[in-house]
Amino acid sequence: MPRRRGRVPAALLIPAGLGLLFLVLPLAGLLIRAPWTTLPQRLTEPGALTALRLSVQTATLATALCLLLGVPLAWVLARVEFPGRRLVRALVTVPLVLPPVVGGVALLLVFGRRGLLGGWLDATFGLTLPFTTAGVVLAESFVAMPFLVIAVEGALRAADHRYEEAAATLGASRWTTFTHVTLPLVAPGLAAGAVLCWARALGEFGATITFAGNYPGRTQTMPLAVYLALETDLESAIVLSLVLLVVSVGILVALRDRWMTNA
């Protein structure tokens, strides 16, 4: 039973309604303008499927990379006291506020052919990252990892320390505690972070085009294909956008039902 009933104040209801419209109308526009009659034929165009497959693959690999590096980073930020921790935390969130194109340029300056590490990687291992699928994964990870780190760190901070302390008292090493107590404890937060990270990676545009370029089948992900289709064929761009929308909403809904019911 609500504590105070009565009319919902207009001062909240009106802006809330406007906010909802603002978020939903563009999506409705996409649905309304979609060329439904030619949709099946446009969808099966090889270019669209190639871009979609590449997008899903790279976003998944990027999420794996972010989990591998981001979870330990979040743990260190949440559980280890060290000088400059606040600064490190701020640094981790920089890619969130950085325009992705700037992130792409920064990646080139480090991993590019003339970059700080790129030249060495090329000379030592013959490894070049720009214009490769690996480069796409790297660009997506750079932009998406903060989402994961923030979500997992938040979950770690909110988790009850007493379970970890009990495990330690019972003789578990810090590593065992991490794998057997901490990780299961923060699993919902971890799943939420991974989904956010994946969604952000799937939509990545700026850093990808700057760092990895645009070549069908190798670095042209869905958002790049949408942008390029926009140059000539609005309807194709709408169809591609629609596919991206359906895939991301579909996966978000599916995962939410499975893992995040209480998150």
């Binding site: 080139l108 003339r114 214009f131 645009n214 926009l230 140059e231």
Partner: protein, 264 residues
């Protein structure tokens, strides 16, 4: 006024303010253009091909100096993106395209005021890092092992021209990237990530501090005409016509020639 009614009044004001702000946001494109559009000159919004960035920026300044009270705002991008923005109703006064095809998109949609006129021509060169470390002298050299090449995507004029030139030369080339506009392709050369890119002579010249432009004979087969037109729904029609006329005048043509454009 009681505290309660005071609160209600404030809340209503806030809500009204938000609605007003929303309406202002929605209408701002048309609103402030009309405010300045009535005076002679006023603000002229020019949508111009990326390859016109340097020369049009200068021509815009000259135009402002020649027409006191006027100000020119540019939107530089790939011609096809601009053509799309215009047909989608972007509030532009003038459209200057790097190829007739993109201009046709605009004229066929009924967005042009009058017939477009060609004001410049441009040709491709091979942009290589300054000093040409790989010794690129022809299109064929671009197919050598370990030579990374950036092209424009075929949807944009520089990409279409590159395709024509490569076909004319009978050279089968696999680029590492297909960039959205000519400046993107040039940037990859400047950053040293590719060994060469096919860009306009004017772009190579504008970046002569970092890149060298290598001329090649087949570029004569892919000359781009640059058309310009005032737009029918221009917020500032007088300014639009004045700017188009200025671009065709002797001082502006001198700026274009200096940038490496050929006269129409």
């Amino acid at each position: 006024m009681s505290a309660r009614s005071m609160r209600t009044a404030v809340a209503v004001l806030v809500a009204a303010g938000m609605v007003a702000a929303g309406l202002a946001l929605a209408g701002c494109g048309a609103g402030d253009d009309q405010a300045t559009g009535g005076t002679e000159g006023g603000r002229v919004t020019v949508f111009a091909a990326a390859s016109l960035t340097e020369s049009f920026t200068r021509i815009g300044k000259d135009f402002e100096a020649a027409n006191p009270g006027s100000s020119v705002t540019f939107n530089f991008a790939g011609s096809s993106a601009l053509a799309n923005q215009i047909t989608q109703g972007a509030p532009a006064d003038v459209f200057a395209s790097a190829a007739p095809a993109n201009m046709t998109t605009v004229t066929e949609a009924g967005n042009a005021d009058g017939t477009p006129s060609t004001f410049a021509r441009n040709q491709l060169v091979i942009a290589v890092p300054r000093g040409n470390p790989k010794g690129v002298a022809s299109l064929t050299d671009l197919t050598g092992p370990g030579v990374k090449v950036a092209l424009c995507a075929s949807q944009v004029p520089c990409g279409a021209a590159a395709r024509t030139a490569l076909d004319a030369a009978g050279v089968a080339l696999t680029p590492v990237t297909l960039e959205q506009d000519v400046k993107g392709a040039l940037a990859k050369v400047k950053l040293g990530e590719v060994d060469a890119a096919l860009v306009y002579r004017t772009d190579a010249r504008a970046a002569s501090a970092e890149v060298t432009g290598v001329e090649f004979p087949e570029s004569a087969r892919a000359v781009n005409d640059y058309p310009i037109v005032a737009l029918k729904d221009a917020p500032n029609p007088t300014g639009a016509r004045a700017f188009v006329a200025y671009v065709r005048s002797a001082p502006a043509q001198a700026v274009l020639a200096e940038a490496g454009f050929q006269a129409p």
